[in-house]
């Protein structure tokens, strides 16, 4: 089993471009889209047989007949999701982390937990892949990581899985990369891309996940990312040029690897990644 996480730090550097094309050239790979806020991998494939599962999180509900307004539930809530008023207990679902402290420590057993839909997991057959699975966070929900953890449970325990991660370096990105065998950091050689690559490297270091760099939009003006990678012993697994035609192909929702040249490029990138993942 090999899990390849595709991440970046900066948004828009080409994570989805790389994840979709790598999965497509791999033959029989599972493509996992953990960018649950803005999932896009499915747009690049002909999908069929979709099934979806609604994901719930627990939020408290007060049984008013039992509640004595003692306020203990508000006191034990570390997230400020419960406010105890003289005649009422107010609950803010969006602040609740679902830890269960309120119900566990209610002396009157007056706090029940009800299901609150936070998003869904969609699994489908996709042409050229073993399968596609992705999460879609419900609009207005704050906690992406909770849904990401649930989608990760669908990653098969055998074969190759390619994981498209959300941008940034905060908890959703970290949760997505955690547990991978190797992380491909897609970067562009601009000052923004370089700056955020260094932040993303702090994440892979913290998680102790081996990392490689894929340079996208080569030719854009900016710092010498290659020299930086060389001097820090970070393998560069491939380079994609800054070409308007690539942006145009991507914009139509088409895979780059439908052309022979790009298919060769992504096959070579994939074998370099697998080689690096296999190093002790």
């Amino acid at each position: 089993m090999v899990r390849i996480a595709v991440a970046s730090g900066k948004g828009g550097t080409g994570k989805t471009l790389v994840a979709t094309n790598l999965a497509a050239v791999a033959k029989n790979a599972m493509l996992v889209d953990l960018d649950v806020e803005e999932p896009n991998c499915h747009l690049f494939f002909t999908v069929s047989g979709e099934s979806s599962e609604v994901v719930y999180r627990k939020v408290p509900a007060i049984d008013k007949d039992k509640c004595t307004l003692c306020g203990n539930c508000a006191k034990v809530c570390e997230f400020g999701a419960i406010v105890s008023l003289p005649r009422n207990i107010m609950i803010f679902d969006e602040l609740c982390h679902g830890c269960g402290a309120c119900s566990r420590f209610c002396p009157e057993d007056a706090v029940e937990e009800r299901d609150h839909a936070m998003g869904e997991i969609i699994q489908a057959n996709a042409e050229g892949l073993r399968g596609l699975v992705y999460g879609r966070l419900r609009i207005g929900e704050a906690a992406a990581s909770t849904l990401i953890r649930r989608v990760k449970k669908r990653i098969p325990s055998d074969g190759l899985s390619v994981i498209d991660c959300p941008p940034g370096t905060a908890c959703p990105a970290v949760e997505s990369v955690r547990g991978s065998d190797i992380c491909v950091l897609v970067t562009e050689p601009t000052p923004f891309g370089f700056h955020d690559l260094k932040l993303a490297l702090a994440v892979t270091k913290k998680l102790r996940v081996p990392r490689v760099v894929l340079l996208n939009k080569v030719g854009l003006p900016g710092p010498d990312v290659e020299a930086f990678c060389d001097s820090n012993d970070i393998p560069i697994v491939g380079r994609i040029g800054h070409e308007r035609t690539i942006a145009e192909t991507y914009s139509e929702g088409r895979l780059l690897c439908s052309s022979d040249g790009h298919a060769r490029l992504f096959r070579s990138v994939l074998s370099r990644i697998l080689e690096e993942a296999g190093r002790p």
């Binding site: 730090g9 900066k10 948004g11 828009g12 550097t13 989805t16 806020e37 803005e38 896009n40 747009l43 690049f44 034990v76 570390e78 997230f79 982390h97 679902g98 830890c99 269960g100 402290a101 566990r104 420590f105 966070l137 609009i139 207005g140 929900e141 704050a142 906690a143 992406a144 959300p166 941008p167 940034g168 370096t169 905060a170 908890c171 959703p172 990105a173 970290v174 955690r178 601009t190 000052p191 923004f192 700056h195 955020d196 932040l199 702090a202 994440v203 913290k206 998680l207 854009l220 003006p221 900016g222 308007r244 942006a247 145009e248 991507y250 914009s251 139509e252 929702g253």
Partner: protein, 294 residues
């Protein structure tokens, strides 16, 4: 005082390019970078830091091994799988996975030997700086930090205080990508959200979702399509999606090779004479300033 936030849903659509230009065009504004986990605005505006402080809102469980008798009450109570056991038999100990711990304190409260406490964890840093376009508030979240929404709120709050003290007319906010806690925190209560979209299959899908978030939050928003000529057909589709939701169009910015050149030189696009993107952004800025704020 009006607060204007540039948001996008999708990353890399040009939020920072646009906001940096707005900062250069505004006469009397306070600038805020609310992309706290991958901030970039400082790379263009070259702020000189005047004041800074630590941000520590995240709490984590800490176990005092001397009092722990390995009863495992905490392990079964934790809903985040943040407590694990190490070792076997009499050497069995409980350890905290600080990445998984959400700081809910349930373990602390169930522990019969009072061996667990919650400790604040350093989670980032904030800065108040001076730039060539006015004061700027920015921050950097620790790698893998939680509560980025709280740090976003702190940056916005500090910017508003400076604006009120200095009599600034505007707070200009560079927002984070995505739709979850930091984006919601950046958007809540703002006077106008400028949504930057790119004309790609992904960009269209992401625009629909951020526009739905705006509707959900009852926020006023406007659309800018960046690099619109990469795909004119999808640009029109995005603009139709905006019109259907009652979101006004503020303009289109063309694909322009001088934009990355200006960023590499740490200049705003508006500091590049006469390039097509500059002209488009100046027109968009006029829409922002003449917008009928509620």
């Amino acid at each position: 005082m009006k607060e204007i936030v540039v948001l996008s849903g999708k990353g890399g659509t040009g939020k920072t390019v646009l906001l940096a230009s707005f900062a250069s065009l505004a006469r009397n504004a306070v600038i805020a970078d609310c992309d706290v986990d991958a901030p970039n605005l400082h790379l263009v505006l070259a702020p000189e830091v005047k004041e800074s402080g630590r941000f520590s809102s995240q709490k984590v469980a800490v176990i005092d091994g001397r009092n722990c008798n390995s009863c495992m009450e905490c392990v079964s109570a934790c809903r985040f799988d943040a407590l694990t056991t190490i070792g076997n038999g009499s050497l069995k100990k409980v350890a905290v996975d600080t990445d998984a711990c959400e700081g809910c304190g349930v373990c602390m409260r169930v522990c019969p030997s009072k061996a667990i406490r919650l400790a604040e964890q350093d989670n980032g840093e904030w800065f108040v700086s001076r730039t060539r376009f006015g004061p700027m508030v920015h921050a950097l979240l620790a790698p893998g930090g939680e509560n980025s929404g709280k740090l976003v709120a702190l940056v916005r709050q500090k910017a508003k205080v400076i604006a009120n003290q200095s009599g600034a007319e505007m707070v200009l906010v560079d927002g984070p990508p995505g739709l979850s806690c930091p984006a919601i925190s950046a958007a809540a209560g703002a006077d106008l959200l400028v949504l930057v979209a790119e004309p790609t299959a992904s960009g269209l899908s992401d625009f629909r979702r951020i526009a739905d978030l705006c509707a959900h939050m009852k926020a006023k928003s406007a659309l800018v399509v960046n690099r619109w000529d990469i795909n004119p057909r999808v640009t029109e589709e995005i603009e139709r999606a905006a019109s259907m939701r009652g979101i006004p169009r503020f303009g289109r910015v063309p694909y322009d090779e001088r934009v990355p050149l200006s960023m590499a030189a740490a200049r705003t696009v508006t500091e590049e004479d006469g390039c097509p993107a500059n002209v488009a952004i100046v027109n968009i800025w006029e829409k922002v300033t003449s917008y009928k704020y509620m």
